[in-house]
């Protein structure tokens, strides 16, 4: 009996089996939701409202990742620098933002920052008073920048010392060396983990909803909270939100895989370019 089962299983392609497993999991999930008195119609009715948060989630994370990458670049250069000022400032930065919770940083920037302005300067206080969205973007950027500093540092250090010496021997300045030789090579190492950070950030952007935000600028999670509470349908609302986040991260995962493949150019020798010379015919053959 066991023997027959094993033989039968071996005859099915692995991918088909994998698909079947996913299918079974999906069925179980649907069954459990049907037990929980799930209002599918409500979900469909409010899908559009929650989906309208999607652009805001993307804008928040787009801006925050730009800030984070900039900070991480200078952070990494500072950490690797021989200057006491650069090392001190970047060391403090990464220590603080990696050592405190993101949500605390968000509230500090949102609530505490305006209080730094002296009372006799109301103009300064106004400009330090940020919207939830602005505070969220800045906090996400600062926090992820601190983590990504280590990623950038590792990437820069992954470029062999021989490369730095060759550039130095040609008379390049520090700046030229970094821009023309080291960073272009480090990028290859930096991109994959940075993509992961971006995907993590898409999810962490939901924390901004805790700061509250004006109706026009609400991201996915804030919108789902709002309608879910209003109609006493929190489960349905959050399932929609979870689905949207999941779709979003999956799409970016696909983009990232493609980008990594493109970046490997110049490092893999596996693709043999077939050059046809006059009179010489070359045939590409599959490896046996």
């Amino acid at each position: 009996m066991r023997e027959r089962l094993e033989l039968w299983s071996a005859g099915i392609p692995f991918k088909v089996k994998l698909g079947m497993v996913w299918g079974v999991i999906a069925l179980i999930v649907v069954f459990l939701f049907s037990l929980a008195d799930f209002d599918v119609q409500w979900m469909l009715d409010h899908l559009w409202f929650i989906t309208q948060g999607l652009p805001w989630t993307i804008i928040i994370c787009g801006l925050a990742i730009i800030l984070a990458v900039t900070l991480a670049l200078f952070g990494a250069l500072g950490r690797l620098s021989s200057s006491a000022i650069a090392q001190g400032v970047t060391g403090f930065y990464t220590s603080f933002f990696r050592g405190t919770p993101l949500i605390v940083q968000m509230f500090l920037i949102f609530l505490a920052l305006p209080q730094l302005a002296p009372p006799n300067l109301p103009g300064l206080r106004d400009s330090l008073t940020l919207t939830a969205l602005q505070a969220g973007v800045i906090a996400l950027g600062l926090n992820y920048g601190a983590y990504m500093t280590e990623i950038f540092r590792a990437g820069i250090q992954s470029v062999g010392h021989g490369q730095v010496e060759a550039a130095e021997a040609l008379g390049m300045t520090y700046r030229q060396r970094m821009r023309r030789i080291v960073l272009p090579q480090a990028i290859r190492v930096i991109i994959p983990p940075t993509g992961n950070e971006f995907i993590a950030m898409l999810k962490d952007s939901a924390l901004i909803s805790l700061l509250g935000s004006v109706v026009a600028q609400m991201e996915i999670f804030r919108r789902s909270q709002l309608v879910g509470r209003a109609d006493f349908r929190p489960l349905e609302a959050f399932v929609v939100a979870a689905g949207l986040y999941w779709i979003l991260t999956t799409i970016f995962q696909i983009f990232q895989t493609r980008l990594e493949r493109r970046l490997s150019k110049g490092y893999v020798r596996t693709t043999i370019r077939v050059t046809t010379q006059p009179g010489v015919e070359m045939v590409e053959s599959e490896p046996a």
């Binding site: 021989g162 010496e165 021997a169 040609l170 008379g171 390049m172 300045t173 023309r180 090579q185 110049g266």
Partner: protein, 251 residues
């Protein structure tokens, strides 16, 4: 007597307690080809690396093309002086150190454009000539990964030549190569010496090349140049016991 292109005076270099160079004096005049040889660990590579300050000497001075460098705090002025020396002294490394993210042509064009601010079109023209000179004109658009070791080293030579250096320094240029690829690199170096009359400092174990191409041979032993002279006299009639022993081992 012409002014030397390279002048090394009382050069000392220690790594921790280990003194690798113990007061080297060496002048290299224009057109001279100095082969520096000796056992591994004798300090010959360190000597080259101290000349362009890839290693900072502990004391003494080097002078390249009239610019004098001494060890000391890296102020802005000091850094700029080091850069001028590096522009005047081209260097070829044992393990090539080509830039893998750039094509062969881009490797050669990079420094003239970035460092010297040359017009790119002009730099490309020069680079193509140099690649033809080292026999690699057809590889201009390849990435280094697709080249053999010998081809990589020839590109590295072209890359250094593109800066129009006053002296070329070769740090064991054939030591990382498979035996059958050594001759193609040596022949490029030979024509550089005999046809272009390039001033060269070559750290190598290739005694055949030294005998044929060198104008001067310097034997380094335990951080000192213990013997120096024409290849004929040094190889045929070594004066120092250590030179004799070394030559017996490699010839």
């Amino acid at each position: 007597m012409t002014e030397p292109v390279v002048r090394v005076s009382q050069l000392r270099k220690s790594f921790g307690d280990n003194e690798v160079l113990k007061g080297i004096d060496l002048d290299v005049t224009r057109g001279e080809v100095v082969v520096i040889f000796g056992r591994s660990g004798s300090g010959k590579s360190t000597l080259l690396r101290c000349i362009n300050f890839l290693e900072e000497p502990t004391s003494g001075s080097v002078e390249v093309g009239g610019i004098r460098l001494e060890p000391g705090t890296r102020t802005h002025r000091q850094r700029e002086a080091i850069r001028s020396v590096r522009i005047k002294a081209g260097m070829v490394f044992q393990d090539f150190n080509l830039f893998p993210h750039l094509t062969v042509l881009q490797n050669v064009v990079e420094a003239p454009v970035t460092v010297k601010g040359q017009d790119r079109a002009h730099a490309v023209e020069v680079a193509e000539e140099l690649l033809a000179q080292v026999g690699l004109a057809d590889k201009r658009d390849e990435h280094p990964i697709r080249l053999s070791g010998g081809q990589k080293q020839r590109v590295a030579i072209a890359r250094a030549l593109a800066m129009e250096p006053e002296v070329m320094m070769f740090d064991e240029p054939t030591s990382a190569l498979d035996p059958e690829l050594i001759s193609e690199v040596l022949s490029v170096m030979r024509s550089l010496a005999t046809e272009t009359k390039m001033t060269m400092m070559v750290v190598t174990h290739e005694m055949g090349f030294a005998r044929e191409v060198a104008t001067t041979m310097a034997f380094v032993h335990e951080g000192n140049i213990v013997e120096k002279g024409s290849p004929a006299s040094v190889i045929a009639n070594p004066q120092h016991a250590q030179t004799k022993r070394f030559l017996e081992a490699v010839l």
